[in-house]
């Protein structure tokens, strides 16, 4: 290529290239991302330092009056048994965020690994995995959870694993579909032709190209996990009294709404803040990673 020709063919790209380099350096946090991170950090700190922060223990009855709105002792009022709502929210952060996070992490790890394996392995492995997942998904999730927990007996590890198993089937479906799309791309064929093993192809070729939708799914799944654990708690299969869980608190104190007490609304709002924060952060991440591929601007 003569230098002259090189200029001609690549002239149009140069501003675009400089620009996308600039873009990558400029990937600072947007205000929305900052707010989300602040909210998440706030709740994590609350969860970690719960015993220090909480004015009372989660099971202490601080008042003989239930559904009190506000008083000097209990800042956010009391619940249906006269316990301090603020203290229970603080302790509840541990349970709610911790359990859901562990369950979601487990479900994503197993779901993604199995989904990818199914996508790039020979037919029969895919068949066995996919049909098993179909069978699990055929049960309504709450019913399946009841059967498992009812059979094994309730304890926190069992609850976590049950939620993880049910969530993992959804993650499996998504990650398998994404990996199937990616695995027919030429760069994966190139890696296969090079002689790469399954691990390399999964970790370096497919995962980076599917991480964006998977991250979006993580935000949604985490929120669902919080709600699912709350439902189980309500049925008496999740967090056991007097343990505090935001979901449990909503259900316990629903009655209070009739008396104008905020005891049910506060934990609901807490669930709301954390779900919104996580989803906004995921949105920011999606946007960030899509900037890496600049639009075509040639004619």
């Amino acid at each position: 290529m003569t230098p002259d020709n090189a200029d001609a063919s690549e002239a149009i790209d140069s501003p675009e290239e400089q620009n996308s380099n600039k873009k990558r350096d400029n990937l600072s946090l947007t205000p929305v991302a900052w707010v989300s991170i602040l909210i998440i950090v706030f709740w994590v700190v609350v969860a970690v330092f719960a015993p220090v922060l909480a004015p009372f223990d989660k099971a202490d009855m601080v008042s003989f009056e239930s559904f009190k709105v506000v008083d000097e002792a209990s800042f956010l009022g009391t619940d249906y048994l006269g316990r301090d709502v603020l203290s229970r929210i603080i302790y509840g952060a541990r349970m709610t965020l911790g359990l859901a996070l562990i369950a979601t992490l487990i479900s994503f790890t197993t779901g993604i690994v199995l989904g990818f394996v199914a996508a790039i392995s020979p037919g029969w492995i895919d068949q066995v995995l996919s049909r098993t997942v179909d069978a699990i998904m055929a049960f309504p999730s709450i019913m399946l959870a009841l059967i498992i927990i009812g059979g094994v007996g309730t304890s926190l590890p069992v609850v976590i694993l049950t939620v993880a198993l049910i969530d993992a089937t959804r993650v499996f479906r998504l990650s398998r579909a994404l990996a199937l799309d990616a695995s027919v791309m030429d760069y994966v064929v190139v890696a296969r032709a090079r002689g790469e093993g399954v691990n390399w192809i999964m970790l370096h070729e497919i995962l980076p190209n599917t991480i964006t939708p998977l991250a979006a799914e993580f935000g949604v799944r985490y929120t669902f996990a919080i709600l699912f654990i709350s439902s189980l708690s309500f049925l008496g299969l999740g967090v056991q009294p007097p343990g505090a869980d935001w979901g449990v608190m909503v259900k316990e104190n629903l009655q209070g709404l009739l008396y104008g007490a905020p005891a049910a609304l506060i934990p609901a709002a807490c669930i709301g803040t954390i779900s919104v924060a996580i989803n906004l952060l995921v949105d920011w991440f999606l946007h960030r990673s899509s900037v890496m591929i600049p639009e075509e601007l040639t004619g």
Binding site: M1, T2, N5, A6, A8, S9, E10, A11, I12, D13, P15, E16, E17, N19, S20, N21, K22, K23, M185, D186, Y187, V189, V190, R192, A193, R194, G195, E196, H204, E205, P208, N209, V291, M292, I293, P294, E295, L297, T298, G299
Partner: protein, 607 residues
């Protein structure tokens, strides 16, 4: 005659995401009369598509028309409001895009899509529009004009779809037709039929047209006027005759030289009668299939050290499959692949790293062959680590060397593929294969997605690498002129079988296999009137506008072949004729008949 379209001082600006507006089209003037065809020619990035789109008052996302006038029948298109512009598009000005396959909705029947514009604009009722469409199908020479519209887009061939796309554009009888690289993605034989159809329709309807292309030879067939563009500026404008025969500007001459003509037979390359084991790579009795569909049958090909084998054939003939089988991605059903005399295991899994290293594959589309989430440094570094077990520091150094080898700056190691142009990506793609230090590189249509000048530079790079590194190439292409200029030997594939192979000079001179002859005669020549001449030849009349059919018995080319023998060609496998050592033609006809051609009257009598 009054001008239909006048474009005055047109300026278009484009903005990269988040950046400032930069000029893409810098003050273009031209005018078109009814029935006239203006060709816009230039490389990618020259602004030719942008100009053609602005005649509809359209600018792509991220672009804006900043200055100028576009007068259609005296009315400035750029000043129209949204609604009038909608009325204009499709009705007065129609657009034919490069890829018909991407422009048709796969889940709607063709008629529905072709008649959409006239019914939407209220020009015709649905049934009138359908009748009009059938008329158009007839004049575009489409098979089964009455029923083809009832099919779905995937049920017709690429060339037919491109003509249906033209029918869609013509459905409102527009004053101006904008054709954006309408034949670039097609095989040479298909290209002829599409060009012919365009010419007929333009002269019959007296439509004016803007024909955008990077291929001067194609443009020479259809255009009255040619405008040569570069970086958004006009380089030269004139009648087709003047531009083709007496180009004034240096750049036009560069473009002309990038059009590679089938070279004269100057390479006196005589084949030694060596036994099969002494070849670097040998493919023997190879049959390959995807499930129940057999793609390749009984293929025998050899590659020597520092040799370039060109593999040509139309799309679907099994060229890429052959490369996939050699590389081990698709294990063969029957047959063996030998490397330096020893048989290679069929599948990648069975081959050792040492064996894998020696054969490397370069894919057609660098866009999808490079992982968009890895930096160039990682893409090139991986084979170094994998095959040569280099440590990170060595890798970094070698990646720099590789980038220099393919004439790219070392700093590119930090970039992502999305930040590179098409030609640069293809160079990285090539550098990845070189990283393994292979002996054979399989190049699958590596220049097809690039425009002429960039493609020529990639070919020059391949040639210089061969001299320096001593690699052999298996160069797969549907573009005969590229292969002819570059390969030492040529293998012609048709429907999964080798119909002819031998040294380039032998294959390109008589005796020809009838299919090779058809391919040769279908390459556009850089002269006016070539299209009319070629359409008259017997090869064209018999061979064009047919689909490739895979068959298990007989010669696969029988039903397109002008000299086929009924009862012989369609039932028996063709014997291999050897006019000289090393040159093989699979045909029932005697060599003498292939040289002189046969009396067609005799053929039709026997049929």
């Amino acid at each position: 005659m009054r001008n239909l379209l006048e474009v005055k001082n047109l300026c278009v600006q484009g903005r990269p995401p988040g950046g400032e507006y930069v000029p893409i089209v810098k003050g273009i003037d031209f005018s078109i009369k009814p029935g006239e065809v203006l060709a816009l020619i230039g490389e990618s990035g020259s602004g030719k598509s942008t100009i053609s789109l602005s005649t509809m008052g359209y600018a792509r996302p991220g672009c804006r028309i900043s200055k100028g006038e576009v007068l259609l029948n005296g009315e400035d298109v750029l000043l129209l409001d949204k609604q009038s512009r909608r009325n204009l598009r499709g009705e007065k000005v129609a657009y034919v895009a490069q890829s018909a396959a991407a422009s048709f909705n796969p889940s709607l029947r063709i008629n529905k899509q072709v008649t959409e514009a006239p019914t939407l604009h209220g020009i015709m009722k649905e049934d009138e529009a359908v009748n009009h469409a059938v008329e158009l199908y007839k004049s575009l020479d489409l098979p089964n004009p009455e029923t083809i519209g009832k099919r779905y887009p995937h049920q017709v061939s690429g060339g037919q779809l491109q003509r249906l796309m033209a029918a869609m554009a013509l459905s409102c009888t527009p004053d101006l037709l904008v054709l954006d690289e309408p034949t670039t993605a097609l095989d040479v034989t298909t290209q002829i039929e599409v060009l012919k159809a365009f010419k007929v329709i333009i002269s019959r309807e007296n439509t004016a047209a803007i024909y955008v292309s990077h291929d001067l030879a194609v443009v020479a067939q259809v255009a009255d006027q040619i405008m040569v563009l570069r970086n958004g500026e006009m380089v030269e404008q004139g009648s087709t005759e003047q531009i083709i025969n007496h180009p004034r500007h240096e750049y036009t001459k560069t473009l002309m030289s990038a059009v590679r003509q089938t070279p004269p037979c100057d390479q006196a390359h005589e084949e030694d009668q060596a036994d099969a084991d002494s070849h670097l790579l040998g493919v023997r009795n190879l049959t390959a299939a995807y499930g129940p569909v057999t793609i390749l049958r009984d293929v025998n090909v050899v590659v020597d050290k520092m040799e370039t084998i060109g593999v040509i054939g139309e799309s679907g003939c099994g060229k890429s499959t052959m490369a996939r089988v050699i590389s081990g991605i698709l294990p063969p059903v029957v047959g063996e692949i030998r490397l330096d005399g020893s048989v290679l295991p069929g599948a990648v899994k069975g081959r050792s790293r040492e064996e894998l290293k020696r054969i490397q594959f370069v894919f057609q589309m660098a866009d999808v062959a490079l992982n968009p989430r890895q930096t160039i440094g990682k893409i090139l570094g991986r084979p170094l680590k994998f095959y040569h077990d280099m440590n990170p520091a060595q890798c970094k150094e070698r990646v720099g060397e590789l980038l220099e080898l393919v004439e790219l700056p070392r700093e590119f190691a930090k970039r992502f593929p999305g930040e590179l142009s098409g030609g640069q990506k293809q160079r990285v793609n090539l550098a990845r294969a070189l990283a393994a230090e292979p002996e054979v590189i399989l190049c699958d249509e590596v220049t097809s997605a690039l425009d002429t000048v960039v493609a020529a530079s990639v070919i020059r790079l391949l040639e210089s690498l061969q001299e320096r590194l001593g690699v052999s190439y298996v160069f797969i292409s549907h573009d005969l002129s590229t292969v002819a200029a570059f390969a030492d030997r040529i293998v012609v594939l048709y429907a999964g079988r080798v119909v002819e192979q031998g040294p380039t000079s032998r294959v390109l001179s008589p005796p020809f296999h009838p299919y090779t002859k058809l391919l040769l005669s279908s390459v556009p020549e850089l002269r006016q009137g070539w299209l009319e001449d070629v359409a008259e030849t017997q090869e064209a009349r018999s061979g064009i506008a047919r689909d490739v059919t895979l068959s298990a018995v007989g010669c696969p080319f029988t039903d397109r072949c002008p000299m086929s023998i009924k009862g012989v060609c369609d039932t028996q496998s063709a014997p291999i004729r050897k006019p000289v050592a090393g040159h093989e033609i699979a045909c029932h006809r005697e060599i003498e008949e292939l040289i002189t051609g046969v009396n067609l009257a005799e053929v039709s009598a026997s049929a």
